[in-house]
């Protein structure tokens, strides 16, 4: 079982890596392509970069267009990051001090995460009665829900052996085969996590760039016809 899980994890990781490499290759293929446009490509100013950082961290564009959804999406993303960071202690041999300090916040985020997920889905389906709900997004949200619920059950009700989990993961990271922990919940959690990695939405990598471009465009917009 342990061997199968480790092979599966590496397969998912390979898919993830391939998707990134493939995108870089495609981008390189287009390196000579420029767009029409009087507004020639220019470097972003420090202020634009800072504002984009704010746009990325606080999802300001979503806030502008849909505050009701924004709160759910923002809380969901932030709690997801905290939960991820909290999980580092299962990967690192010795957890640094800052990581230990984050454990409590990470644990709380673990409870908030499924609530935020349900909130997002509820807003879309029942409040906004949205006509469009992409099947890909629905799959990812369900996967995250499964991840968070199995995580919470392991935290509160059916505790797996943490030592064997840590041992399994450190062996997996070192390309060594190891026995899987004797917990079906952990196995489900582990598989869901790696399926998620393989399907990691591409916007995570692309959106910071498009948000920077959008910020530059918005700063330039007033000057298209009003240049001094």
């Amino acid at each position: 079982m342990g061997t199968i899980l480790i092979i599966f994890a590496y397969l998912c990781y390979a898919i993830f890596l391939w998707r990134i490499v493939w995108r870089i290759v495609l981008l390189l293929k287009l390196s000579g392509h420029t767009e029409h446009g009087a507004l020639q490509p220019r470097k972003a100013s420090l202020l634009e970069i800072l504002k984009t950082g704010r746009d990325i961290i606080f999802f300001t564009r979503l806030l502008r267009s849909n505050p009701l959804l924004w709160i759910g999406e923002w809380v969901f993303h932030m709690s997801f990051i905290l939960v991820l960071v909290r999980h580092l202690r299962y990967v690192l041999d010795t957890a640094p001090h800052w990581l230990m300090n984050l454990q409590f916040a990470g644990m709380l985020a673990g409870y908030v995460l499924p609530v935020a997920l349900v909130y997002v889905v509820a807003i879309k389906l029942w409040v906004e009665k949205t006509r469009y709900f992409s099947s890909g997004n629905f799959f990812l949200l369900s996967l995250l829900f499964l991840l968070s619920v199995t995580g919470l059950i392991m935290k509160n009700f059916i505790h797996p052996d943490i030592i064997s989990i840590k041992n399994f993961i450190s062996n997996a990271l070192a390309f060594r085969f190891a026995t899987a922990p004797e917990s079906y919940l952990f196995v489900v959690h582990f598989i869901a996590a790696f399926v998620f990695l393989a399907y990691l939405p591409t916007h995570i990598f692309a959106a910071p760039f498009t948000l920077l471009e959008a910020r530059k465009r918005e700063e330039e917009h007033g000057g298209i016809m009003h240049e001094r």
Partner: protein, 400 residues
Amino acid sequence: MKDKDTFISCLSQKQLLELDACTQCGECLKRCPVQDVTGDPSVSPPEKIRMFREFIKATDGLKSTLFGPSEIDRKLLEDFTKAVFECTTCGGCGRACPAGIFTERLWPMLRKEMVRRGLGPIGPQANTPGAIERTGNPYEKPTAERYSPWFPAEVRVAEKADIAYYAGCTGAYLAQPMVRGDVRVLSAIGEQFTMLPPEEEVCCGFPLFITGQHDMLKNLVNRLVKAYVDRGVKMLLCSCPCCVNIMVKDWPSLYGKPLPFKIRHLSQYVEDALKKGKLHIKKGLKERIIYHDPCYLSRGVGIIAEPRFILSQIPGIQLLEFERHGLDSRCCGAGGAARKVFHENAVAMGRLTIDEAVARKADKLILSCPACYEKVNEAMQGHDKQIKIVDIMELLSELI
């Protein structure tokens, strides 16, 4: 063109990233006029993006790299082509997009790709290059009638001047009260202005650009720029938002260097004239009026305050706003050359604009775009709600 050929050749790096950046969140559907009237998510922005990603995967993905590109379902290609040409290219989706995707630019480039593959444009849009080739305008109207039916006899045009006025094909042939108003106001300001003779004032290129048919663009732009340079022009004025858009955003790259003159929207020039006392509004109007921001004027080039300033100078007027205005304005249905093919959509969108203007108890609906003018007037025919539609310069020319 084979369906197995790459799908990325018309894209820039930025646009490829934009395709990846779409979270499929669906926020854009709420701002999409096509969605308002069709309610069909299969022609929505995230679906177009999803389909195009599939095309790229099929021709440039891992499997295609290792085993050769796979054949794409013809029906999917046709569905995509229809969806991308049904769009009015209003950019409303981009304005709402939390990922900051510049859809106003992305859709025309996806259209260009479909044209390159021989799948687009659709219906009468395909006649545009031929019509422009033969007559200089996309409507295939006689060149001799470009100005004559509407040009006021009292207005004088100089042979050469610092200022030139470009009427544009849609205004000259389909929205004549608008361009008549333009030249009357220009004449009242009193500065000399020039115009190209009808056979020289050819299409600005926008209908070709927006339908993805880019072959003739350079030639048209070079002809126009040279003609204005020969007349000593320092500032080119135009009231059509689509023309202004391509002039300011694309002419320089098509011309190969910065333009030797400035491009200004007519409302900017008129605002300036009002502020400097060169133009006086003599009559008042005790009416409630509502101003519709053309997408390509507000979202396109940021002309939002000027028309409102001009209207606010009319004594007695009460200026109302649509719920969605300025950068958030809703397309009236005339954009993107979609009106030529998806006529019913365009009429339904035009009626949404009319309905809101009537619901807000406006006496007049003020427009500032010849395509809006033509289409919203058409949408009113046979509609149960009626309102007087006036172009901003048409209105002003009656009050000065």
